[in-house]
């Protein structure tokens, strides 16, 4: 029997095993997402399931998104005013806040908040269904569990994240406006400068990014839940992994998309 590797060999073996496992999950994840997207285009369509998930992802998250957007815009404005005053450039506070919210803070913070609220619950719900054999029951009924469970969640993520981001952008700018005006910035100038400096592509590119984040957070949550192993403990592990992997994926993909788009 071959002996266990030690020292440097053990380290290489560990790195190799981790790489293989990561590649395995990446491959499996890609297949699952492909099947889910395919399932969304193949009849029969279950619109009720999609609307239900849109409610969970969108309507149920709106309050937390409004709060996050508003206070992010407000605190961002506080910091920007402090810096811009040094150069007597308070008139640029409006476009700075608006560009920051639309291009970056709105999409990313909304995605992170929704991941914490919805991505984790998707992983937990599907994980519980896996360990209680409900997903097996669907399979035995000749119902495609990917089409029935995952496709509606990914569609909901894709549609609702841009809408939530639009809300976040608006409330962020509103929060910024209130703070800016309270700090002595001229309200008319705040809005006029936004109109002068923010173009539609700033808003749309942010919304496109948020659509991609919606797909990432829902698909990662579903993947982790769908392949849960090991009872209640496994469900907890899947939920944590779903949140951590979604966060990292959102931030990495944000960097890549921003580098390409802007």
């Amino acid at each position: 029997m071959p002996s266990e590797p030690s020292g440097l060999l053990a380290l290489i073996a560990k790195i190799g095993a981790a790489t293989l496992e990561t590649l395995y999950h990446l491959g499996n994840y890609s297949i699952l997402v492909f099947k889910a997207i395919l399932g969304a285009f193949v009849p029969p369509w279950r619109l009720r399931g999609v609307f239900r998930q849109m409610e969970v992802v969108g309507a149920d998250s709106i309050f937390v998104v409004i709060l996050t957007g508003f206070f992010t815009g407000a605190v961002f404005t506080l910091q920007v005013i402090y810096g811009f005053r040094m150069f007597s450039a308070e008139s640029l506070v409006g476009p700075t806040v608006a560009l920051g919210m639309c291009r970056e803070l709105g999409p990313v913070l909304t995605a992170l908040m929704v991941t914490g609220r919805v991505g984790s619950s998707m992983a937990a719900e599907l994980g519980a269904m896996r360990v209680t054999e409900q997903i097996d029951a669907l399979t035995v009924m000749a119902a495609d569990p990917v089409k029935y469970l995952i496709s509606p969640r990914i569609i909901a993520g894709l549609i609702m994240l841009p809408l939530l981001t639009a809300v976040s952008d608006f409330t962020g700018i509103l929060g910024g406006y209130i703070i800016a005006v309270a700090k002595g910035v001229d309200p008319g100038q705040f809005i006029a400068r936004i109109q002068d400096n923010v173009v539609l592509s700033d808003i749309f590119n942010g919304l496109i990014k948020s659509g991609a984040f919606g797909v990432i957070l829902s698909s990662v949550g579903c993947y982790m839940g769908f392949y849960t192993k090991g009872g209640a403990e496994g469900v907890g592990r899947s939920t944590t992994k779903a949140v951590v992997i979604s966060y990292v994926s959102i931030l990495v993909s944000d960097f890549i998309m921003t580098a390409i788009m802007f």
């Binding site: 029969p44 519980a128 209680t132 409900q134 029951a137 399979t139 009924m141 000749a142 119902a143 495609d144």
Partner: protein
């Protein structure tokens, strides 16, 4: 003798170095109650998962009539699964739905009927099992026995040709176990389906079964009628039937 509804030949499945199925051969006869018995962890549930396509074997054959399924893809399995149902050990009822929605779900997912008709059929199935009053309840409000009955109602609603039971009496008290045994008998009378019961409930197997296959060491040790099992002089079969701790099987369960 009629041809078997399901035929398994030389089925192998390993998990790592553990040989769980080591050349299983079994015939499951149509419109009869077929029991698959054996020790806990002996591969019964793994065999069952192979029979419904939830697991794929390392090698071997699974025949549904003249269709070999072991190497078939999901599409072929989906076609076979439309004619079978599985009663899971804990029911595997959908928590997010009411009892009525659970029972009607197979009709809904396959678009077999409109909403009103699905409700009517689900109610009728529940009524047959004396659970009409539970129609609007959540599944979390049901007792273990009621969950089994709701799961049976759901399994029967598409009138399957083959119905599998996974450890139907495990975790139930003797009274409920007897009720479940009655349900199995009733199912055969009403549905005329091929029933396959995976269990380690020896009294139920000896009373209800038309055929019993006993799995031991990853293989079928003995296949036959309850009378043949009672007559068997095989020490492993004897120990399993009598439940004695001492014997070739070691400690039971």
């Amino acid at each position: 003798m009629t041809a078997p509804a399901i035929k398994v030949r030389n089925l192998h499945k390993n998990f790592g170095s553990a040989k769980v199925l080591d050349g299983i051969d079994v015939d499951l006869r149509p419109s009869e109650i077929n029991f698959i018995i054996g020790q806990s962890g002996g591969g019964k549930s793994v065999l069952l998962k192979h029979l419904v396509g939830l697991m794929r074997p390392d090698s071997g054959e699974i025949w549904y009539g003249d269709r070999e399924m072991a190497k078939s893809g999901e599409k072929q399995w989906a076609a076979v699964r439309r004619k079978l149902a599985l009663l899971f050990q804990d029911g595997a009822l959908f928590d997010s739905m009411t009892v009525g929605e659970n029972v009607g779900f197979p009709l809904w997912i396959h678009r077999k009927a409109g909403r009103a008709e699905i409700e009517k059929k689900a109610l009728a199935r529940l009524d047959e099992l004396d659970l009409k009053q539970a129609f609007n309840l959540r599944t979390s409000d049901l007792s273990a026995g009621e969950r089994k009955r709701v799961a049976l109602a759901r399994a029967l609603i598409l009138e399957p040709e083959t119905l599998f039971f996974d450890e139907p009496t495990t975790g139930l008290d003797p009274l409920l176990s007897e009720q479940v045994d009655e349900l199995i008998k009733l199912t055969l009378e009403h549905a005329k389906a091929t029933l396959v019961v995976v269990s380690h409930d020896i009294p139920a197997a000896l009373t209800l079964a038309d055929n019993i296959s006993m799995i031991y060491g990853g293989r079928v040790l003995l296949s036959g009628s309850p009378a043949e099992f009672r007559r068997s002089r095989d020490p492993v079969v004897r120990q399993f039937l009598t439940g004695e701790a001492e014997g070739p099987m070691g400690f039971l369960d």
